[in-house]
Each structure stands twice: as structure tokens, then as C-alpha cells.
């Protein structure tokens, strides 16, 4: 068994254990053995089955889905921009998805939230990409400046929309903070189509992303159709980002950190980086969500606060030493 295989087995096992523990957490605490019993159809108490199947299973699956989607998008954006600081949040995809989703809510959902979020994410990334490309493409500074300007602008527009439509203000505000509070099966089914599609587009781009590591000219000289590859990568990553954002609001840093941890563990080839990032993203987000709902229980804090608290220092560390990982 190779080192990479054992790492994948280890990460999968960790994710399963964490999921089991997460299922047990909440106002009614359920032990791992009771959880297993209830899931396999022989609940110790009838209420366990209701609590798990009606609320917690959907929530845990949604956390895993969003963690995987954000991590997959993060790996893809980092590879596309050849930049270790790229992630769905930094390149404006999250902001674009948030604006799209907010517009959908403000206009009474004439367009489904997921579709509006995808269009918003795609639009924002294409603009940031065009700006970064025009001004010395690939340089850390131009990407970060373009992304920061875009995110600030998008969040300003979102704030303006919120001020102008006060009855949905609270709903959207708490959603934008990022969190899984009150999420259930309907959110899961809505998000999973876009997330699976996004990941299904991103994974086959692994070899193209490896080639892009050598720079665009070298990738093209190796036979890569740059335009097509870039477009597919942006579409795949925007779809996964939009899925996560429309289900759980803006959750920063998961998409940034997971690919870095993955490269440390399994090497830099995207064929292993993307799946390993997805596992790590799910693990990180599950931990953040567990913290969010237990640390001030019964009050539930937005999970985005915890990913930012964990990820912010990590981001600053990378900024200080971008080639360090």
C-alpha cells in the first residue's frame, strides 16, 4: 500500500468518525453507539431516529457537501491562477454567488437561488480573471487587488440591496454570515446537483491543471487548448462555489486551506490534490460547524466566524511566504 493510499484511507476514516460524533452533538446528546443503532433502524429511543433523520443527517451531509465543493473549487482556482492565495472567496466567486443569490431572494425567487448564485460567481470570476490577465497575469498582487476590489464592490451592492428590502434583511444577513443552522434535506438536494456537477467538471481537469503549473505557454506547447481548459475550470469551480454559497452563505478560507494541507500530505499532482482537498475541506468544515453549534450552546454561532478565525492567520502566514507551501 502506497503512502498516498494510506493517507486517503486515514482521511476517510477521520471523516467518518467526525461525522458520527457530529451526529451525536446538539441539544439532545446521542452517543456514537446510539447513533449507529438509530441509523441502522434499531433506535434505543424512538426520538433518536426522528432527531437524526429529520435534522442532523441532512445537516452533516450538507456540511460535507459544502466542504468538498469549496475545497474542490479552491484547488481549481489555485491551479488556474497558479497562485497559492486563490480561493473561492479571494477570487470573488463567493461574493458573486452571494450577490446572485441575494438578487434572487429580493426578486421573489423568480430565478432559483442556485442558478442566480452560479451566474454571479461565474461573472465575478471572469471579471477578476480578465483584470488579473491584463495586468501581468498570475502575479499575486494583481490577483489579490482585483479580487479584493471585486469582493468589496459586490458586498457593497449586497448591503445596498439589504437596506432597500428590509423584510428579508434578517434572513439574508444571517445566511451571508455563513452557517448550517436550520438547514435540512431540501437545502441538501438543491445544493447537491450543482456541487456534483461542479466537481464532475473539475476532477477531469486534473492533468490540465498540472500542465498549467508550468505556465500557460508551456501548457499550450504540451497540447492544451488553453481557452477551453480555462473556461471549463472556471465553470466547474463556479458551480461548486455557487452550490456551497447558496446552501450555507459565505464561508471563507476552507477553499484556501484544504488544498495546501492536501499538497503537504499527498504531493502536488491535481489528480490526488483535488480528492484529498475535498476530504480535508469536509473535515475542517465539520470541525468548524461542531464548534459553531456547541461553543455557546444553546446559542448557535455562524460557522463562517470559525473558518475565518482558523483561516485568517493561515492566510496571513501564506501572504508573508507565498512559496512556502
Amino acid at each position: 500500500m502506497t503512502r498516498t493510499t494510506s493517507i486517503f484511507i486515514g482521511l476517510t476514516a477521520l471523516l467518518l468518525v467526525l461525522s458520527l460524533l457530529s451526529l451525536g452533538m446538539g441539544a439532545v446528546s446521542i452517543s456514537p453507539s446510539e447513533t449507529l443503532a438509530a441509523l441502522s433502524g434499531n433506535p434505543v429511543k424512538e426520538s433518536h431516529a426522528t432527531i437524526l433523520w429529520d435534522f442532523r443527517v441532512a445537516r452533516v451531509l450538507l456540511v460535507i457537501l459544502c466542504g468538498s465543493a469549496l475545497a474542490s473549487a479552491g484547488s481549481a482556482f489555485q491551479g488556474l491562477f497558479r497562485n497559492p492565495l486563490a480561493d473561492p472567496y479571494i477570487v470573488g466567486a463567493s461574493g458573486g454567488a452571494a450577490l446572485g443569490a441575494t438578487l434572487a431572494v429580493v426578486f421573489d425567487r423568480t430565478v432559483p437561488i442556485g442558478v442566480a448564485g452560479f451566474l454571479g460567481a461565474l461573472g465575478a470570476v471572469l471579471i477578476v480573471y480578465a483584470i488579473a490577465e491584463a495586468s501581468n497575469f498570475g502575479s499575486v498582487v494583481s490577483l489579490l487587488l482585483a479580487g479584493a476590489a471585486m469582493s468589496t464592490m459586490l458586498s457593497a451592492i449586497v448591503s445596498l440591496l439589504l437596506l432597500l428590502s428590509d423584510e428579508v434583511l434578517h434572513e439574508i444577513f444571517s445566511w451571508l454570515m455563513g452557517g448550517f443552522s436550520g438547514r435540512s434535506w431540501s437545502h441538501l438536494t438543491q445544493a447537491s446537483l450543482a456541487a456534483f456537477l461542479g466537481i464532475a467538471i473539475t476532477l477531469p481537469m486534473s492533468r490540465a491543471l498540472d500542465a498549467l503549473s508550468a505556465g500557460e505557454s508551456s501548457a499550450e506547447a504540451l497540447g492544451l487548448d488553453l481557452r477551453r481548459a480555462r473556461l471549463l475550470i472556471v465553470i466547474g469551480a463556479s458551480l461548486s462555489t455557487a452550490a456551497a454559497v447558496s446552501a450555507s452563505g459565505i464561508i471563507g478560507f476552507v477553499g484556501l486551506i484544504a488544498p495546501h494541507l492536501a499538497r503537504r500530505l499527498v504531493g502536488a499532482s491535481h489528480a490526488v490534490v483535488i480528492p484529498a482537498s475535498m476530504l480535508l475541506g469536509s473535515i475542517l468544515l465539520l470541525i468548524a460547524d461542531d464548534l459553531a453549534r456547541t461553543i455557546a450552546a444553546p446559542l448557535e454561532l455562524p460557522v463562517g466566524v470559525f473558518t475565518a478565525l482558523l483561516g485568517g492567520p493561515f492566510f496571513l502566514y501564506l501572504l508573508r511566504n507565498p512559496k512556502g507551501l
Binding site: G215, S217, G223, L224, A268
Partner: protein, 255 residues
């Protein structure tokens, strides 16, 4: 004729850097592009590789416009090695060299045992077997340059475009890489165009030279036809001439 350039004029960053360049590269031949910095060598190679669109004139691969060919088909015919490349991620040497098989295998299909054999022999020929699991960002400049050579060997193209392939190599590896290229030319009938600074290496390894100055072709032909004392003086501003070294090969002596 696999590769040819006809009245090729090229721009780089909005500046006209090459005017009316003509070249046809027969099989089994190494053509050297020589000239001072900024004479347009790199830009010409990029155009022959189809990576840039000419401002005027044509760069043809088997009679078709290089920049408009199907990318994978083109990559099976032409291998381009840049002077420098930076790796965004710490892929291993073997992973980078394996990408040379992408034009053959495509971007989705897993690499086959045949691909792996070709990669292994490319690694061996570039003297990289011992380094194959090393991340490429942990290599010296010379080691990295050999990785690029190995990758283009794995690519198995019919023509090689090499941009200063020996610039960051020590003398042992300079000779090794150029011997390797010459061996491939004889063995597989490759056509090679290389930009090369070192005139001694140029006269030693190239069958033909093209002397460039500020984007214009000054002279073309065999090394002794091109590197005349007068041309060397006009283009490089030095008093120099070719002579036979103790082993009977051409070398350049500067006063």
C-alpha cells in the same frame, strides 16, 4: 519540409521585434539562431511553435499555419522548450516529464505502460533517474533545464524548438544535452531549431546558422559562411574569427 517561416514579422508587447524572417528547416538538421540579446530569437521560436500569431507572413508546420493547428496534433509534431519555466506547484520530476505524454494520451486517459517506459527512458537520457521523485521547485537551474529536456523527449515530437537549452548548465551537462539532441537528430531524423548564445557551442553542434540582429536576418548558411569576421564585427562589435580547434572542430576566437 516540416517547419518553415516565410516573410515572418512578429510583435512582442506591441513592439515589432522581427521583420521579414525566412527559414526552412530540413529533416535531420540542427539550425542555430544566433545574435545579440533582443535580436528576436525567442520570439521566432514562439512563432514557430504556434504560440503567437504572426503580424505578417507565415509560420508553417507541414504547410499549415502553426498557430491554428489543433493543439494536441501540433504538440505531437513540435516540442518547444522555453529558456525558463517556473513551476507553480511542487510536482515531482517524474510527474512533470509524464506531461510530455499528454499530447499522445490526451488530458483524461490514464497513462499506459508504454508511456511509463518512454518517460523512464527520457529520464534516463537526461540523467534524472536519481532525481525523479524530487519536487521540481527543489532543483537547481541546470537540473530543472534537464527536466524540460526530458519532458520534450517524452513528447517524441518530429521537430524540436529549443530556447537557450544550455544557458544554465555546467559544461558537462551542456555537452551531454547537445550530444543527446544531435543523437536524436541522427537517430530519428528530427529537425531542430535552437536559439543559442554560446557561439562555440553553436558552431560545434549546428549544421546551419541564422545570424540575427535587431529582428532582421543578417546571414544564413553553414557556420563558416555565417560567422565571418565581418559579420561578427557588425553584429557583436567584436574582432573575432573561426578557427579549427586541436580536435579539428570549428571554434570562435575573440581578439
Amino acid at each position: 519540409m516540416l517547419l518553415s517561416a516565410n516573410s515572418l514579422s512578429l510583435s512582442y508587447n506591441g513592439h515589432n521585434v522581427v521583420e521579414g524572417f525566412n527559414l526552412s528547416i530540413p529533416k535531420r538538421t540542427i539550425v542555430g539562431l544566433v545574435g545579440p540579446n533582443g535580436s528576436g530569437k525567442t520570439t521566432i521560436l514562439r512563432a514557430l511553435a504556434g504560440l503567437i500569431e504572426p503580424r505578417a507572413g507565415t509560420a508553417l508546420v507541414q504547410g499549415k499555419h502553426a498557430s491554428r493547428l489543433d493543439k494536441r496534433l501540433r504538440a505531437r509534431q513540435i516540442g518547444w522548450v522555453p529558456q525558463q519555466e517556473s513551476a507553480a506547484w511542487p510536482l515531482t520530476v517524474a510527474e512533470v516529464v509524464r506531461l510530455g505524454r499528454a499530447p499522445h494520451r490526451g488530458w483524461l486517459m490514464p497513462f499506459t505502460a508504454e508511456d511509463m517506459d518512454i518517460v523512464e527512458s527520457a529520464l534516463a537520457r537526461a540523467d534524472l533517474l536519481a532525481l525523479q521523485h524530487r519536487p521540481v521547485n527543489k532543483l537547481s537551474g541546470g537540473e530543472f533545464q534537464r527536466v524540460l529536456i526530458a519532458r520534450v523527449l517524452a513528447q517524441e515530437p518530429e521537430a524540436l524548438l529549443l530556447d537557450e537549452p544550455t544557458a544554465s548548465l555546467d559544461i558537462h551537462h551542456q555537452i551531454q544535452v547537445l550530444d543527446l539532441v544531435r543523437g536524436l537528430v541522427h537517430e530519428k531524423g528530427l529537425s531542430v531549431v535552437m536559439a543559442i548564445h554560446d557561439l562555440n557551442l553553436a558552431v560545434r553542434y549546428c549544421d546551419q546558422l541564422v545570424l540575427l540582429n535587431r529582428g532582421r536576418q543578417v546571414s544564413a548558411g553553414t557556420p563558416e559562411e555565417v560567422l565571418t569576421p565581418q559579420n561578427l564585427h557588425t553584429v557583436f562589435g567584436v574582432n573575432a574569427q573561426l578557427y579549427r580547434d586541436p580536435w579539428g572542430a570549428w571554434a570562435v576566437s575573440v581578439q
